[in-house]
């Protein structure tokens, strides 16, 4: 008897668990499914609950030569690559110094690199745009790269610092003892070991730049259209299909990197972030 009730109870809790997991799945994936439906709905108006015509018509519209989707895609990718380049060029030396070299007021410097994440960024972007007007940087790709590098730099410095402090020093010392110069030691020993962490930092910076909207909106628009700007305009113009299609394109790098990031962001680096 007690056996039966225990079985029943465990069956009941398994059932409850299954329902709970179903709810989580609905909350996570329902909105995404909604996006997919909109991307393929050709005709959908009240009182119809579901689209009355399906098809690829709007995909053709998004990618027609003059629509600007290709240009936005190209802009987004080239801006993101340049942002990664600029942020890493600045943060690899900084990260190395913060992790390995003697510095005055090191914790203050670390704090300075955290500040941009500690206060709302919108007023900063608004004022960057106002300052950039004086230098003719508004509406240029370089201006947008600079704006994207601000959050990029923050991630990059923190992760790079952690990556360099996780490097095994005894191997470096061994290399130096064998007569390798400091630069060669850095290139052959330090850099390869820190590489996964630096790669993870680059991925974060890349994703952040691809998804960035607010800074681009104030500094780049209307001349520089990235995918998020294109999507925003389509959405505000009531072109839900076009917005949904653009959104799906934006999701490709995000989801792709989410699946591989763990390979690069190892636990030993993760645990050193912020130190």
């Amino acid at each position: 008897m007690s056996n039966l009730s225990a079985t029943l109870r465990s069956a009941g809790s398994a059932m409850g668990l299954a329902i709970a997991m179903g709810l989580v799945a609905f909350v996570v994936f329902g909105p995404l499914a909604n996006l997919v439906i909109w991307a393929f709905a050709e005709q959908w108006f009240y009182p119809n609950q579901w689209p009355t015509r399906w098809g690829f018509e709007f995909w053709g519209r998004v990618f027609r030569p003059r629509a600007g989707a290709w240009e936005s895609l190209w802009n987004s990718v080239s801006i993101a690559v340049a942002t990664v380049g600029l942020s890493m060029a600045l943060s690899v030396p900084a990260g190395y110094a913060l992790a390995r070299l003697a510095l005055p007021a090191r914790s203050l410097i670390m704090l300075i690199f955290l500040l941009p994440q500690a206060f709302p960024s919108l007023p900063i972007f608004v004022n960057i745009a106002a300052i950039f007007y004086n230098f003719g940087l508004n509406g240029t790709l370089f201006g947008v790269v600079l704006v994207h590098s601000l959050p990029g730099l923050v991630y990059a410095v923190w992760i790079a610092t952690a990556a360099f402090s996780a490097v095994d020093r005894s191997m470096e010392e061994a290399a130096r003892n064998l007569g390798a110069g400091p630069l060669r030691t850095f290139r052959d020993i330090t850099l390869p070991q820190a590489f996964p962490g630096l790669m993870a930092a680059s991925i974060f910076v890349f994703l952040d730049s691809i998804d960035e909207f607010t800074g681009t909106y104030f500094v780049g628009a209307p001349d520089i259209a990235t995918l998020p700007i294109l999507m925003f305009n389509a959405s505000m113009g009531g072109n839900y299909q076009i917005a949904a299609i653009t959104a799906l394109i934006l999701l490709i790098p995000s989801v792709g990197f989410m699946l591989v990031i763990e390979r690069f962001l190892k636990a030993d680096v993760l645990s050193r972030i912020g130190r």
Partner: protein, 377 residues
């Protein structure tokens, strides 16, 4: 390695920027996405066909006065430079006036082949500012009320009836306030025409100091009205809310309405009407900035865009706007059925009687500020 990537991409970026060669015509337009679509899908390709080697690049700056403000800031930021990167600006009335006053626009119209075809009053006067010579109307458009006759058999015909109707049917009427595009702004102006007792001064001037103080009752009733309506996100948002059955009535641009119906994006049973005493309409203007890099090409572009054939095919037939040049020149290029489609729901007489202009520039700004101060908060 990363430095190399950075350099390479910076080089690529600057190469891209300079490859925009001497034969590119930069058309910067305010307004909803249909403005960019018009240039990208219709006008640009046609113009390029007639001018080999020319590329028309269309840039949209967003709906409503915010879009025109962006064009102003873009040009104003380059004020001291020798050449500006905007060849043709498509702007709203208020900004056209301000830009003429600030000396940012060229007086280009007299040499234009199509300048004789313009008869609209708005080509000379933009909300109280003399703009004669500086602008060509691209089209004229009118704000109207869209409604679903399946839900509302006999819609209210005036602002007064509407106010009463909304009280009895809360949540059925929707508009986009004043931050999301001109359809909502125009609806608010119509409200002021109806209830401020100053309709004539607001539209024709002169400016009276302290006018805003007299609007308290009108604004208070609008605030009260807003309690029973649905706020929609933008001009397109109102149409979209109608589409999804969230509201049964709301102010829209007539052209957008017809375009959406033709596109299969809007229930074709919906209808349009204009409230009495009147609702505003407005033109969009073609203007040439004073130091446009391609001024001559810009003039050719505008002459082409205001030719009867383009006005008939592009403006009326494809995008459902009222022509910017004199209708007589356009009508002959269209069949009667095509022309009458513009008046399918709203008869020409009603349009003449209830299609009013926007407020004069100072009143325009004063009403928006008063709305933010008294109604929105």
């Amino acid at each position: 390695m990363n430095i190399r990537i950075a350099f390479a991409s910076l080089l690529a970026a600057s190469a891209l920027a300079t490859s925009v060669s001497a034969q590119t015509l930069n058309v910067v337009t305010a307004g909803d996405t249909n403005m960019v679509d018009y240039i990208n899908d219709y006008l640009g390709p046609k113009f390029e066909e007639a001018h080999p080697g020319v590329t028309v690049r269309a840039v949209g700056t967003g709906p409503g006065d915010g879009g025109s403000q962006a064009i102003f800031e873009k040009i104003n930021a380059q004020k001291d430079k020798g050449v500006w990167d905007v060849d043709v600006a498509v702007v709203h009335q208020r900004m056209a006036g301000q830009m003429v006053q600030d000396g940012l626009l060229a007086n280009y119209r007299d040499g234009l082949a199509t300048s004789k075809l313009v008869t609209r009053e708005t080509a000379e006067n933009a909300l109280g500012v003399n703009v004669s010579g500086y602008v060509m109307p691209m089209f004229h458009s009118q704000i109207a009320i869209a409604y679903n006759p399946d839900v509302i058999a006999t819609p209210p015909q005036s602002y007064e009836e509407l106010a009463k109707w909304v009280k009895e049917n809360p949540g059925k009427f929707g508009y986009n306030g004043i931050t999301g595009g001109m359809a909502g702004v125009g609806f608010v102006f119509g409200w002021m025409y109806a209830f401020s007792d100053m309709a004539d001064e607001i539209r024709n001037g002169p400016w009276v100091d302290g006018a805003a103080d007299k609007w308290t009752p009108a604004l208070a009733s609008l605030r009260d009205f807003n309690q029973s309506v649905v706020m929609t996100p933008g001009n397109a948002g109102t149409l979209d809310a109608m589409n999804r059955g969230e509201i049964a009535m709301g102010p829209v641009w007539m052209d957008m309405f017809y375009t959406w119906v033709a596109d299969g994006r809007l229930n074709p049973n919906l209808k349009l009407m204009i409230l009495s005493p009147g609702m505003p309409g407005q033109p969009m203007y073609y203007a040439v900035p004073a130091k446009a890099a391609q001024a001559d090409l810009a003039k050719e572009f505008i002459a082409f865009a205001t030719s009867p054939a383009v006005q008939a095919e592009g403006i009326v037939r494809r995008f459902n706007w009222f022509p910017g040049i004199d209708p007589q020149n356009v009508k002959s290029e269209l069949t009667d059925a095509e022309w009458n489609r513009l008046f399918a729901d709203v008869a020409p007489e009603t349009l003449a009687e209830r299609g009013w202009s926007m407020p004069q520039a100072k009143y325009f700004a004063a009403i928006l500020e008063a709305y933010e101060k008294n109604v929105a908060k």
